[in-house]
């Protein structure tokens, strides 16, 4: 059991001030936080009227004594920290002693609580911040907090609450977010007597992922964990093609606390990198476990933002964890053994299975004939059977669990891009000198850019000589580029170089992207069977075969399940 005390003035004054409660969902969040802090393993939430009528949270945690019940509604009354230095190493969700008093001051609140080791519990009633009564009562061990008529005494605030539906949705969202990192705690949410979410305790996140992300997405996510001394990153990552235009499905947790963080979002985006189209956000859950003394949670009144002391490390760890995990997964031809067993012809298995991506499953087959390196275990490669070319633009292939459509230009573009990039890294881009130098006319501005970037262009295999006047001669080109319209290519490349110098990674990347686009097989170009096989086998070796450098998807996969549904063979 805790003992609550009022924080001294000088500690209280250091707490990030501001509005704690702004809508029913934030009440739900604060109350559940308290229950988790109270070590409950069963938390039931009941709401009515989108929380505007009632929010009731019932837990089996440590409970509060009579004194504590009286104190907990006072400002800066907390059992969770004592000194100012504790503020810099917060291990619980709560630390301010602000939530209950804030809630109690804008609602009619009733608290019933009993510590396990006491025979009787107590009931406190408080309305608009004014104590109404405290009495002894029989009660189950734990705490029940009932919040009625939120903002009843502040009509202006109450008016700003949204429709019941909207507030309910917010509550469901908060509930799912908060419950996600605690599979060991049973959660239930009831709306007007109807159970709308029931999350029994288990030892896995996956159940919780389902309710948060939906079955399809959750089923398609890959899981990854990475740990180094004081920082642990674990993540669930959805395939890039399930990305969204908003970041609303990117969940970030620091030591179990759901937060919003631009840095982490950026790191996840960087980790996905080229696999994402511009302006898209992946669906993902990132858990960051960090020494509490290395992160400051006292920076925002709703406790939804944090500041990492060593943000660079955190950033890098996330980028590399995410990047590495994705590098090994979401490969178009990879199909695990387990998948092959449940193949097309096993009708029963098929009709109940979900149409999800399963390429990445990391399950090992029970008998492994050879021992393979760690990262290869997940990648059982299957060579696709080429069906043919559609409209001279898409390659169709049969894979174990359905149809794979590959955009030939995007795919080849990615291959050329990767090759160039690797070449650039080892500064070995092979250049082919041209038999007949290509003449081109450049504007004064273009000339300046070319002359300024000459060495860097050279490194890319592009040798341009000033011939006199506006005329330049293209003497050599990157050997990997074939059948390129050099004028169009160079004018686009020069435009990309305009602002910066080439040694900047970003600009180099832009240059490579332009080169890849021009050097890749066009859509509409007929390909022979060998060319197709060659392309696919090269794609197979790629680390990120899901998107072209512009971010367009390279392939689209249709499972037999989806196809069968399409033809109404199964419903």
């Amino acid at each position: 059991m805790n003992t609550i005390h009022i924080l001294p003035e000088k500690v209280a004054s250091q707490i990030a001030a501001g509005e704690v409660v702004d809508r029913p969902a934030s009440v739900v969040r604060e109350l559940i936080d308290n229950s988790i802090d109270a070590a409950a393993d069963r938390i039931f939430v009941r709401i009515e009227m989108g929380g505007k009528g009632l929010i009731k949270v019932n837990d089996n945690g440590v409970g509060m004594s009579r004194d504590d019940i009286l104190l907990c509604v006072e400002r800066y009354a907390t059992s969770k920290i004592e000194t100012a230095s504790d503020l810099f190493s917060v291990k619980s969700f709560g630390f301010r002693g602000e939530a209950l008093p804030s809630i109690a001051s804008v609602s009619r609140t009733e608290i019933v609580s009993r510590p396990k080791d006491q025979l009787a519990g107590h009931r406190l009633k408080i309305a608009g911040g004014r104590l109404i009564s405290i009495e002894e009562t029989g009660a189950p061990a734990g705490t029940i907090i009932e919040v009625r008529n939120l903002f009843y005494n502040i009509p202006a605030r109450r008016k700003f609450l949204r429709a019941v539906r909207t507030e309910t949705d917010h509550i469901i969202d908060v509930f799912s977010r908060v419950a996600l990192p605690f599979p060991g705690i049973a959660f239930k949410l009831e709306d007007a007597g109807k159970t709308i979410m029931n999350l029994p305790a288990s030892d896995q996140h996956i159940q919780r992922l389902h309710s948060l992300m939906g079955r399809k997405v959750a089923g398609a996510m890959i899981e990854v964990q990475e740990e180094n001394h004081d920082l642990g990153i674990s993540a669930y990552l959805a395939p890039p093609d399930l990305s969204r235009t908003r970041g609303d499905r990117l969940f970030v947790y620091v030591n179990g606390r759901n937060i919003r963080d631009r840095l982490v979002t950026k790191a996840v985006l960087d980790g996905y990198g080229q696999r994402l189209m511009k302006g898209q956000y992946p669906q993902a859950v990132i858990f960051i476990e960090i020494d509490p003394s290395k992160v400051d949670v006292n920076i925002h009144p709703t406790k939804q933002e944090v500041r990492f002391h060593n943000s660079r490390d955190v950033f890098q760890s996330i980028v590399s964890t995410v990047g590495k995990a994705l590098g090994q997964s979401f490969h178009p031809y990879i199909s695990p053994k387990s998948q092959q067993e449940g193949s097309f012809f096993q009708k029963e298995a098929l009709s109940i299975s979900e149409p999800v991506w399963k390429y990445y499953q990391t399950e090992q087959s029970p008998v492994a004939p050879f021992k393979v390196e760690e990262h290869e275990q997940s990648l059982i490669k299957e060579t696709p059977r080429v069906i043919g070319q559609l409209g001279n633009t898409y390659i169709l292939c049969q894979v174990t669990d359905g149809l794979l459509m590959v955009d030939q230009h995007a795919a080849h573009e990615r291959i050329v891009y990767e090759n160039l990039k690797n070449g650039a890294k080892s500064s070995r881009i092979e250049a082919q000198t041209l038999l007949i130098p290509f003449r081109l006319e450049l504007s004064t501005k273009e000339q300046r850019i070319v002359l300024e970037n000459r060495d860097q262009l050279n490194r890319l295999g592009i040798e341009l000589d000033h011939f006199g006047g506006n005329t330049f001669l293209l003497r050599s080109v990157p050997a990997i580029l074939k059948n390129v319209e050099w004028d169009a290519f160079l004018s686009e490349l020069i435009t990309e170089l305009e602002d910066d110098k080439l040694d900047d990674d970003i600009v180099l990347d832009k240059a490579l992207t332009v080169m890849a686009c021009h050097g890749a097989i066009r859509a509409g170009h007929p390909m022979t069977h060998e060319e197709i096989s060659h392309l696919l086998s090269e794609l197979e070796e790629m680390e990120i075969p899901t998107n072209c450098p512009h971010g367009r998807p390279i392939f689209k996969h249709f499972t037999y399940y989806e196809i069968e549904k399409m033809f109404k063979r199964i419903v």
């Binding site: 291959i415 090759n419 690797n422 070449g423 080892s426 070995r428 092979e430 250049a431 082919q432 000198t433 041209l434 038999l435 007949i436 295999g461 040798e463 050599s476 050997a479 990997i480 074939k482 059948n483 319209e485 066009r522 509409g524 170009h525 090269e538």
Partner: protein, 371 residues
């Protein structure tokens, strides 16, 4: 139309045009073969609009007229049948009856009057060339033609007349910008061929021409408007020329090489093939180094490893080192016939020159790579 004929009379011709007729064209008429019976002959025509082929064969014409019959089906029927005497008769509504005595086919055909008109080679001035020579010229140049791709314009072999040392030669030259192959052959009567500025013959047409020429015997060539016309016996091939301009290549042909070596062609070819084993899309270059009577070939691929071979040559000049695409060497060496090839170098930014005594009139150029 109604004809009777012997299988062998037309089978060869029908199978030859299979590579011309379009299988999946959006113009169905182009997948047909036109059979036109007149007098004592049937004229067999096939075209894809870029290339047209026609041949007349004597048959028993019972009734004159034309049918446009599926080229593929006609070929398959002739191929599967072991009978020799055939009968084709036009019925109403574009149906054609075809039989080999035992089997009977009723074939849905297309209206013959929709068949594209053929460029009649009447009045074309033609000269006679030995088929084998023409075939050799094609074989030794066509591999340097750019693989056809949207927007690229060198996908043909440039053919022109050149005169030097008091003789006139027919020249074919092809380049993809990285290499060039050129061959000159003296042809009697060439002066009378009307070929003022040279023409670009597309690769597909050359392949058809090569089939005719490789059979040996004399072939007649000439030009009509924008078409290259070839006659051999009763067969006529018309190839529509490419409009593209061939670059001025004369300046890039080195007047003399600084360093030169001779070596066995097969030896170099095999060495290059070995070098190719460790090359891929990204790293394709082979480094050639010449020094102290040794020609060293090395291909280094950070992804795969390294290959090296040393060949004894007669070379005592300064050390010379240059990178090349081994595939280009293989293409050229494969097309050559000489036992000994002659390699000429200038420096590592200028092309390598390939020639051979038994490859009269041939010159290959391969541009180096920067490593």
């Amino acid at each position: 139309m109604e004809i009777k004929f012997d299988r062998d009379q037309i089978f060869k011709c029908v199978s030859r045009v299979q590579s011309i007729i379009e299988r999946k064209s959006n113009m169905p008429i182009l997948s047909t073969i036109l059979l036109s019976a007149k007098g004592t002959e049937v004229r067999i025509s096939a075209t894809d609009l870029e290339i047209g082929f026609q041949q007349t064969v004597p048959v028993n014409v019972i009734q004159e007229g034309s049918v446009a019959i599926s080229g593929r089906k006609l070929f398959e029927i002739l191929k599967e049948s072991r009978k020799s005497s055939f009968h084709i008769r036009e019925k109403e509504n574009n149906w054609v009856y075809m039989s080999d005595d035992v089997a009977r086919f009723d074939l849905a055909c297309l209206p013959a009057d929709e068949y594209p008109t053929f460029v009649e080679p009447e009045g074309v001035q033609m000269i006679e060339v030995e088929g084998n020579i023409l075939s050799e010229m094609i074989n030794k140049t066509v591999y340097s033609v750019t693989i056809e791709e949207a927007g690229f314009k060198l996908s043909g072999v440039f053919t022109e007349k050149v005169a030097y040392e008091g003789e006139t030669f027919l020249r074919m030259v092809a380049t993809d910008g990285h290499r060039l192959s050129m061959i000159d052959k003296p042809i009697p009567d060439l002066e009378s061929l009307d070929l003022p500025n040279g023409v670009m013959i597309p690769k597909k047409g050359l392949n058809e021409l090569n089939k005719l020429a490789a059979e040996g015997g004399p072939v007649q060539i000439g030009l009509k408007q924008k078409n290259f016309v070839v006659k051999k016996g009763t067969a006529i091939l018309v190839i529509r020329l490419l409009e593209a301009k061939f670059p001025d290549y004369h300046a890039v042909i080195p007047s003399e090489e600084k360093h030169s070596i001779e070596l066995e062609r097969i030896l170099l070819l095999e060495a290059m093939r070995k070098m190719l084993i460790l090359s891929n899309e990204r790293y394709r270059a082979v480094r050639i180094a010449l020094e102290d009577n040794i020609m060293e070939l090395v291909s280094t691929n950070p992804d795969l490893g390294e290959a090296q071979e040393k060949i004894k040559v007669d070379y005592q000049g300064e050390r010379l080192e240059a990178g090349f695409n081994p595939r280009y060497f293989i293409d050229t060496l494969q097309s050559m016939e000489s036992e000994t090839v002659f390699l000429g170098f200038i420096d590592n930014s200028k092309p390598c020159i390939l020639k051979g005594d038994a490859d009269q009139g041939f010159l290959g150029l391969i541009m180096p790579m920067r490593l």
